[in-house]
Amino acid sequence: MNGQYIPAINTDNLDAFARGVRRFTTGIDEAGYQAALDWARAEVTARSVPLLRLNDLPRGSFCSLSIVGSAAALSELLPEGNEALRAIRTLERWVGTEFQGIVPLNCSGENPLISAAAAAASGKPLVDGDGCGRVLPLLEQTTFTLHGISVGPIAVATPMRDDLILDAPATRIEELIRPIVAAAGGWAIVACYPMSAEQLAMAGLPGTLSNALRSGHPDFGPDPLVSRTLCRGTISGIEYPIQSIAGQPRSSAAGTLPSAPVSILISESAEPRSHLRLEAHNEIFLALADGRVIASAPDQILILNPRTHEVINLENLTVGEPVHVAMVPAASPAWKTKQGRLLMQLSGHAVEGFYNLSEDTMNEGAP
């Protein structure tokens, strides 16, 4: 069943799909994830979602879809179920064209589930691909941007029934959207990156949704999610920078990431019993073993429960907890180019200077 063509997301494979997309996350809010899955199940039960391969797209326009804000808020302020459809329709009206399909902004956690729900609700196919190959914190951090496709204009649909269009430079989008999300109750759905089929075929990362599906159940083919074990050990310490001590996260000032930086220290349980340091700010962006880089963003670094092999949320880590640290290579070589690293460059305190490291240093630990 290797490379088996998967024509659609339907009730038969939705659960495997949901399990698979979960494996690509750095951490997940369980309640938000369940709310997104319930949403997808409701829509997919009514109508299955055809999957379009990137090299087989019909002519026409496409858009990307994403949830913005906190996934945890999704479980507190439940969706009406029309938010994604409203966002797509609003963007279609603004750009003056009907989209031929929807591509998830990323293939991790809640986003592909909500994209599947939106596709089912709108009767549009879902593109088997995404713009990240994983999840990244900012809207403009996509391979679409790397290929010159603008994130805007974007349509925002809130659970408060607000529909908005933001037509602004890409560098302003994040700054504008955060207060809107806060006013909307903590989350919203955005339709963005309006693009042609040719642009999507060139910029999208192919097959990531079917990969997730295979990753979620062996019936759909061998697990394509190849990870490299970095360490098995025990958490020996958790450090918070002075500017963001535990329990008092730094304010989300303009240009900063919407979370606090944290360092996780791990004692390897087997020889050579290395001293590991994982640096995280929204995601784990760096892994050091005895001061040597063994993995770094854009490769994805995950902390797993050694028993269940599920990702452990960073905020749930405790000192003394046994963990398994794994690395999933970046989905696209585009992320390792100079432009890819520049796009990754974040302005949070803890990561300041990280992307200024020489390429030699950063590639040292590459598999």
């Binding site: 450090e239 220290l265 640096e279 050091l288 005895d290 001061g291 200077g353 990280f354 240093t361």
Partner: protein, 491 residues
């Protein structure tokens, strides 16, 4: 020990000489420090030369991961050490990595640029740094004014970090510090002597393998400390000479079971260490009416030798002891010591009538209490005759009886022996009776002592019995013996 070129300043030197290098990690401070580099980016370390002191700027050191990467690069570049601006957040974790990699790392509260300038100055002038070290040690010792051993040791430990230092007494027993039993350690030692060139002890510095510090430098520091130890011992003894009580107080402290600081202070006072010993007690005879201080007289004749303790007052006698040679029979030592003690009391007796007692052999000062009892008892027996020395091991009834107050007992004694004295015109019978009682009524021994035939003794004993005196009768024996001792002294 290997001598290094003097131009090589070590990390250890920097730790000691460059103020502002705070808490240290990494363990190995023996590497040479030949240059300094201010590091404001991780890539800058990749061009650092070996043996470079890397001083991280505050911005670079603001995150633990950057410090850890800097430590790793420092390890790969064989840097001398890394100086990191202090951060309470990642102090423990980066310190653990420095320990693991063995990269010396210092947490500094000072401005990194100022630290770098001081390090550069120290590296540029290593000889001046070394001279500054000696000057600082000398200054610290001088500042002690009345140096005490532990204070001197503390100065040494500050001056010679990462080394093990201890001080032994003349018998090689450790008085301060402890010995590290690692055959790889190299030792530098210096004998500490007093003003008479008698050994006070030995200062020993144990240096880890491949230590960059030269023996010469260690010896220079030790010489300064040795002078301070000599001064301490001289002052202690001088004080004791003047006051004459320090040794007595220490002896009483020892006898009361309080041994704190005993080893150290006894060394300063010149007490012989180790053992075994013989104890002497010198006392004034009952007829003594000295007009000068007996202590001054005794001390002027008492030997000043490393194997003789100083003479010290204990109750109404003066105590001193001698450490046996250990390679001669104890009897020989006992004779030699008794002879010396005899010489002392004989010479002193011209000014202050005195006598002495000598104890049996005791193995250590833990047995001093019993030895003093023996010596003082023997001395109390000896008081009957000025210049006399009685050995505790050879005391018999005659020695004890000799201590009786003769004057008071003369009249009662004459009453006890009235019948015999009346018949004994030339005193022969009295002398024979006294001798028989002293030798346990053995006629042969009495004959031998008095130089007469055994039968003569037997005949005289019969005459004595005929007069009503039977020394074999338990009811009469003690009274007869006491009376004879009082009336026939010196037998």
């Amino acid at each position: 020990m290997r001598e290094r070129p003097s131009k090589d300043l070590t990390v250890s030197d920097l730790l000691r000489d460059v103020m502002g290098l705070g808490q240290a990690f990494g363990g190995d401070f023996t590497g040479a420090a030949r240059s300094v580099q201010i590091v404001d980016s991780l890539d800058a370390i990749s061009v650092a030369h070996p043996h470079t002191v890397l001083v991280l700027t505050e911005s670079l050191a603001s995150s633990g991961w950057r410090v850890e990467m800097a430590l790793r690069s420092a390890w790969e570049r064989a840097a001398a050490c890394v100086v990191v601006p202090h951060s309470p957040v990642h102090e423990a974790s980066v310190g653990a990595l420095a320990d693991r990699l063995g990269v010396p790392m210092f947490l500094s509260h000072e401005n990194p640029f100022q630290v770098a300038v001081r390090v550069a100055a120290a590296i540029a002038q290593p000889e001046a740094t070394r001279a500054a070290l000696l000057a600082r040690v000398a200054h610290e010792l001088a500042a002690l004014r009345d140096p005490m051993p532990r204070q001197i040791m503390a100065v040494l430990e500050r001056a010679l970090p990462q080394k093990n230092i201890y001080f032994t007494g003349p018998d090689d027993g450790v008085l301060l510090g402890h010995i590290v039993t690692d055959h790889r350690m190299e030792s530098t030692q210096l004998l500490v002597t007093d003003e008479h060139r008698l050994t006070i002890g030995t200062l020993v510095v144990q240096t880890p393998p491949d230590s960059p510090d030269s023996t010469g430098k260690i010896e220079e520091v030790l010489e300064l400390a040795a002078a301070a130890y000599s001064l301490w011992a001289a002052r202690t003894r001088s004080h004791d000479e003047r006051a004459g009580v320090r040794s007595s107080l220490l002896l009483e402290q020892l006898l009361s079971g309080d041994s704190e600081d005993y080893q150290l202070l006894s060394t300063a006072l010149g007490w012989p260490a180790g053992g075994p010993f013989l104890m002497a007690a010198l006392g004034l005879t009952s007829a003594s009416q000295a007009t000068v201080d007996p202590a001054m007289v005794f001390r002027s004749f008492w030997p000043r030798r490393p194997d003789f303790s100083p003479l010290m007052r204990y109750k109404d006698v003066w105590i001193g002891w001698y450490r046996l040679k250990g390679n001669a029979p104890i009897d020989d030592d006992l004779k030699a010591f008794s002879k010396i003690v005899g010489t002392v009391v004989n010479k002193a007796a011209n000014t202050v009538p005195c006598s002495a007692g000598v104890s049996g052999c005791f193995s250590s000062m833990a047995g001093a209490s019993q030895a003093i009892l023996e010596a003082t008892t023997a001395a109390s027996v000896a008081v009957a005759v000025a210049g006399r020395v009685v050995l505790a091991g050879q005391m018999g009834p005659e020695q004890l009886l000799a201590t009786l107050p003769r004057q008071a007992m003369t009249q009662p004694a004459r009453m006890v022996l009235a019948g015999l004295l009346e018949a004994d015109v030339d005193g022969t019978l009295l002398k024979t009776l006294a001798c028989l009682l002293d030798v346990g009524l053995a006629p042969s021994l009495a004959a031998q002592q008095l130089g007469v035939h055994r039968n003569t003794i037997t005949a005289r004993l019969q005459k004595i019995k005929d007069l009503g005196y039977d020394p074999g009768d338990p009811r009469q024996r003690l009274a007869l013996h006491l009376a004879c001792t009082v009336l026939v002294p010196g037998i």
